[in-house]
C-alpha cells in the first residue's frame, strides 16, 4: 500500500486551497519563504507550514544558497496531478463532442428518433 499512500498524500496536500496558491506561485519561479510572503501576504509561519507539507510529499524541493533557502516545484510529481485536473472536463467534454457529432449525423440522415 505504500505506493498508493504517496499518491493519496499528494492529493491531500493539494486539497488545501492555500497550498495550491503556493504551487501556482512557485511554478513561475524558484522563491524564498520571504518572497512568497511578500506575494501572498500571509503570516510567514503559515507559508512555512504549508511549504513543509508540500515538501513532505515531494511536490516542492528546497535548495540552500548562502543563508537563503529557495523553494521550487518538482514537475515530475505535479504532472500526474495536472493530468487529473481536467479529468472531468476532458472526459465528459470529449464525450459530449461525440454526442454532438452523432446528433448531427443522425439528423442529416433523417433517422426517426421521436417517440
Amino acid at each position: 500500500m505504500s505506493r498508493l499512500k504517496t499518491t493519496h498524500d499528494v492529493f491531500s496536500a493539494i486539497g488545501e486551497p492555500r497550498r495550491r496558491v503556493l504551487i501556482e506561485q512557485l511554478v513561475l519561479k524558484e522563491m524564498t519563504v520571504n518572497e512568497l510572503v511578500d506575494i501572498v501576504q500571509w503570516p510567514q509561519p503559515t507559508v512555512s507550514k504549508h511549504l513543509s507539507v508540500l515538501k513532505k510529499v515531494n511536490l516542492v524541493s528546497e535548495r540552500k544558497e548562502g543563508r537563503f533557502r529557495y523553494y521550487r516545484i518538482e514537475p515530475k510529481e505535479l504532472r500526474p496531478i495536472q493530468e487529473w485536473i481536467h479529468q472531468f472536463e476532458k472526459y465528459w467534454g470529449s464525450t459530449m463532442d461525440q454526442l454532438d457529432n452523432y446528433l448531427n449525423q443522425i439528423q442529416m440522415k433523417g433517422v426517426d428518433s421521436e417517440h
Partner: protein, 170 residues
C-alpha cells in the same frame, strides 16, 4: 476546508437537436452505443441496460489502442425529456465496482445530474453537474484538488502550470 458545501463541477453545452432526441441519446441503447465514449475511434457496447428510476446499465468502452474500460451506471432519476440523474462507477465485466486506480481517495460515489432545457425546436441546452455524494473528508479533498478554475479549485496560475509542464515535455 473552509466550506462544507460541495460545488459541483459543471459543463454546459448546446446541441442542435430537439430536446427529446438529446434525452433519448442518453437513455436508449441504440443511440448510446454510437457515441458514449471520450474520443473518436472508440467502440461502445451496452451489455445490459435498464435505464429507468432505480435501474442500472453496464457498458464497455474499447479505446482505439484496444484497452477496455467497463462502466457501471445506477440511474436514480429518469425524467423524460428533462432530467437524468445517475451514479457512474468503474467496474469489471460483471458490473462489480472497482476503485479508481490512480487516486485512492477519489470519491466512490460520483453523482451526475443532467438537465435538458429546450431553447427552441431544434436547440437544446444541456447542463451537466458532477459531484461526489456523501464524500469522506479525504474524498472531498481529492475532488477539490482535481478541479480546475471553478470554485475552490485552482486559480489562474493553473494556466501557467500547464504551459510550464508543456514546455518540459519537449
Amino acid at each position: 476546508m473552509s466550506t462544507d458545501k460541495i460545488i459541483p463541477a459543471e459543463i454546459v453545452r448546446e446541441f442542435t437537436a430537439p430536446r427529446q432526441l438529446v434525452f433519448d441519446a442518453w437513455t436508449q441503447v441504440k443511440h448510446l452505443n454510437n457515441w458514449m465514449f471520450p474520443m473518436p475511434g472508440c467502440q461502445c457496447e451496452f451489455v445490459s441496460a435498464n435505464i429507468v428510476d432505480g435501474g442500472s446499465s453496464l457498458h464497455k468502452v474499447t479505446m482505439p489502442n484496444g484497452h477496455e474500460m467497463w462502466l457501471y451506471t445506477k440511474y436514480e432519476e429518469v425524467v423524460s425529456p428533462e432530467k437524468l440523474v445517475f451514479l457512474q462507477y468503474f467496474s469489471n465485466e460483471n458490473g462489480d465496482i472497482v476503485p479508481m486506480p490512480h487516486i485512492p481517495n477519489w470519491p466512490r460515489d460520483m453523482l451526475a445530474t443532467l438537465l435538458f432545457e429546450e431553447l427552441s425546436d431544434d436547440k437544446t441546452k444541456l447542463t451537466f453537474l458532477w459531484e461526489p455524494r456523501n464524500p469522506t473528508p479525504e474524498e472531498l479533498n481529492a475532488f477539490e484538488a482535481t478541479r480546475s478554475e471553478h470554485g475552490n479549485g485552482w486559480g489562474a496560475g493553473m494556466e501557467q502550470l500547464h504551459i510550464y509542464l508543456e514546455s518540459l515535455a519537449g
